[in-house]
């Protein structure tokens, strides 16, 4: 597995760029504010800063994990990337045959074409599958929409997909409510893969499932990645799952990335106090290691009124004066390891992996 970690830093622009055309996706300064309307005239009185100046890139065949608490903006990120929401600013470049296309400049038809290459798996397989449609209809829908297949051909194509995700052909005419949670998620995966996408955005694909089944789905995703050369953007609040599947992991807090590093590096050697706190609460691999769980003080700040300086300072155990006043820069503290913390160089934080 080739992990692209030759990243060149560009402080001024605040963005990360990949060398070569190994990059499949590049997100630049993506920002999404939801306006808050108020009053008779529906004036905009504020913004919920759901996504703030997020930049990263994804290499082909890589899995980029994104973790964070619920409400940190993970789902917004996915939806903006899928152009379900229009971003407030920023761009996203997609590598189509070596050409980087900004998806926000596409028209409806071009966008529909692009959708073939980029698909999504939702968190809740129950709500992401129309309960009134059979498996055939659900998985076949993207194929029909794009005119890829129909009739008998559709059926055989869907059967292949079913086989690929480990379901039986005899399930074709069943409705989602006849399946268990794991099976439903397999159906959702089959649908996502129907159009042979290059990149799949996984929005907490296993968090609604039983623990035992989570593993099966994760492994299925990994197998599929190997087989089909897929690229994943894997979002979860569950650090252990992310660690298991990701090549690199990004940590999100309040709409911004606070740390991004190859997963082993991140888990072993976190550079951001928030990452440390997250990890401390995760019983990974070594249940016997008696680690002290770091309890974060305070509550998640209101995203429509984020704190000044470092957004995390209100809950950070290490916070100093500078954290309150100055926004920390997004810096590469070691090769491929990015963070935005004033104290990144001075603090020695505890990871989980030895």
């Amino acid at each position: 597995m080739c992990v692209a970690c030759c990243i060149i830093d560009d402080h001024e622009k605040g963005e990360t760029r990949m060398t070569g055309d190994n990059t499949i996706l590049e997100v630049k300064n993506l920002t999404k504010h939801f306006p808050i309307y108020r009053g008779f005239l529906r004036r905009i009185v504020g913004n919920v800063q759901a996504l703030n100046d997020v930049s990263f890139s994804v290499a082909k065949n890589e899995t980029l994990g994104i973790v964070g608490e619920s409400g940190c903006g993970k789902t917004t990120l996915i939806r903006v990337m899928m152009r379900a929401y229009e971003p407030t600013s920023g761009e996203m470049l997609f590598n189509q045959n070596g050409e980087m296309i900004n998806i926000y400049s596409l028209n409806k038809r071009e966008l529909k074409e692009l959708r073939r290459h980029m698909q999504i798996i939702f968190q809740d397989p129950l709500s992401s599958l129309n309960p009134r449609k059979t498996v055939l209809e659900i998985i076949g829908e993207p194929l029909l929409i794009h005119g890829v297949a129909r009739g008998q051909e559709l059926k055989s194509r869907v059967s292949e997909l079913l086989d690929m995700v480990g379901l039986s052909v005899k399930h074709l005419e069943r409705y989602p409510n006849a399946f268990s949670g794991g099976q439903r998620q397999r159906i959702a995966i089959a649908r996502a893969l129907a159009l042979q996408p290059q990149i799949v955005l996984c929005d907490e694909p296993v968090s609604a499932l039983d623990v035992s089944i989570q593993a099966q789905i994760v492994n299925l995703l990994q197998d599929l990645q190997k087989e089909l050369g897929l690229t994943y953007l894997f979002i979860s609040h569950d650090l252990s799952v992310v660690e298991h599947i990701s090549n690199r992991v990004a940590v999100m807090y309040l709409g911004s990335f606070v740390e991004l590093a190859p997963s082993a590096e991140l888990y072993r050697n976190p550079k951001h106090p928030y990452t440390e706190a997250l990890l401390s609460a995760t019983p990974i691999i070594d249940p016997d290691a008696r680690r002290k769980r770091i309890i974060l003080p305070g509550e998640l700040p209101d995203p429509s009124n984020p704190p000044s300086g470092c957004k995390f300072h209100t809950r950070c155990n290490y916070a100093e004066e500078v954290c309150r006043t100055t926004v920390p820069a997004w810096e590469e503290v070691s090769p491929g390891h990015w963070t935005s913390c004033h104290l990144a160089k001075t603090l020695s934080l505890r990871g989980v992996l030895k």
Binding site: E69, S70, R79, M82, A84, L111, K112, R115, R116, Q119, I120, F122, Q123, S127, S128, N130, P131, R132, T134, I138, E141, P142, I145, H146, G166, E173, R174, Y175, N177, A178, F179, S180, G182, Q183, R186, A188, R191, L195, S207, V211, S212, I213, Q214, Q216, V218, N219, L220, H237, D238, S240, V241, H244, L278, A281, T282, P283, I285, L296, E299, L300
Partner: protein
């Protein structure tokens, strides 16, 4: 605050060991579920709905009654022993006749012949049955000609008598058989609801779904429209609108216009309900999934939203029927609805709204009983359907 953080104990090895592409565990779990909840292989929502509906005894009874009503209305001309125009003036204001089933220990349905007269003081019609003269009831008897379904000319009636009169529900002032008239009246009263509901469905579904799905200015316009329509109290608005009907129009045209007027108000309720439903659906992931798969608005509306709201539409229609039937009879009662020679339950009731009817000829109020019965049946049925409609609450 790390919410929902689960203890994820499996090691990678363990995971690999457990993992099997055929996922037997998964399969058996689902099998167990099926077994316990009796979900058949290709269980559609309709089957589910039907199964739940069947369990509601009173709703089933309501449904059967509704079905029966429509069947009777459909074959009304055959079932009714007399046509609308048949007047037996000799027998005006005849009270419902008693039917005797056995003659001399043998099954031989019959009625008694009647001696007619007038009370010398009150001048009321009097009818004295003569037990010595039995008039047998014949089945599939030749009678006045009619057209079955308005198409097939026929003369046979389900039952009838060869002399005298058979009037199960009595007669009106012109000696017309109320049984036959109520059956004929049901044809209009029951269809006016259907047509009205269909029309309001059309308007309501289109506007409701559009307003829920598109939101924005479409939603705004539709919502304002609904508010304005709703800010008219229904009966007065109906009154005003029906008063505006050109009365020289043909009865059929009037009939349709009145249904249109009834549905003009009926749709708002439906539209609101559907909008709410669509608003909720729009946020469902499967809609997002379809959209992200590149589906157009039309695709989403017709392939996902409308089918998803279908059970609601059916429930709402069933529950709207009573108000349509009631509205028709109320308007006709006020003299603003249908007019003779059109015969609906409302028209029959309008003709019966006299003191003397209640005092002297109470059987002329029978159409009211049928209005009540049909509404009751529709309500019970609709109620059962509503309970059965939600696919998630098995």
């Amino acid at each position: 605050m790390m919410s929902g953080m689960k203890h994820y104990k499996e090691t990678a090895d363990y995971i690999n060991k457990m993992y099997n592409r055929q996922s037997q565990l998964d399969e058996s779990l689902a099998d167990q579920m099926r077994e316990s909840e009796k979900i058949a292989d290709a269980t559609s929502q309709w089957r589910l709905m039907w199964r739940k509906f069947k369990r509601n005894r009173i709703a089933v009874v309501g449904g059967i009654v509704v079905l029966l009503f429509y069947l009777v209305a459909l074959f009304g001309d055959f079932i009714a022993p007399y046509t609308l125009e048949q007047r037996m003036t000799r027998y005006s204001y005849l009270p419902p006749q008693r039917v005797y089933f056995f003659a001399g220990g043998r099954f031989q349905p019959h009625v008694y012949a009647l001696e007619t007269g007038r009370d010398p003081i009150t001048l009321q019609r009097t009818y004295v049955p003569n037990p010595d003269k039995r008039i047998p009831i014949r089945f599939f008897v030749e009678g006045a000609p009619y057209k079955l379904f308005g198409l097939i000319p026929a003369r046979r009636h389900l039952f009838g008598v060869e002399e005298g009169i058979i009037s199960l529900f009595g007669t009106d002032g012109q000696g017309r058989d109320m049984f036959s008239r109520i059956i004929k009246g049901s044809q209009i009263s029951l269809t006016i609801g259907l047509v009205g509901v269909a029309l309001s469905l059309l308007i309501g579904a289109v506007l409701g779904v559009a307003s829920g799905y598109y939101g924005g200015w479409v939603d705004n316009v539709v919502q304002r429209l609904i508010e304005i329509v709703r800010s008219f109290p229904p009966i007065p608005l109906w009154m005003a609108l029906t008063a505006a009907l050109p009365q020289h129009w043909s009865p059929l045209l009037i009939y349709f216009t009145i249904t249109v007027i009834l549905s003009l108000i009926g749709w708002t309720w439906l539209a609101r309900q559907l909008r709410g439903k669509v608003l909720a659906l729009r946020e469902e992931d499967f809609i997002m999934a379809a959209r992200l798969a590149g589906a157009s608005d039309r695709w989403i509306i017709f392939k996902h939203l409308i089918p998803a709201t279908f059970s609601h539409i059916i429930v709402i229609s069933t529950l709207s029927m009573p108000s349509m039937i009631l509205a028709e009879s109320s308007l006709s009662f006020l003299g603003l609805g249908l007019r003779p020679p059109l015969t609906s339950w409302g028209v029959l009731l309008q003709q019966a709204q006299n003191t003397q009817v209640l005092l002297l000829y109470p059987w002329l109020m029978l159409p009211g009983v049928f209005v009540a019965l049909s509404i009751l049946a529709f309500n019970f049925m609709g109620d059962g359907l509503r309970d059965a409609a939600d696919p998630y609450t098995v």
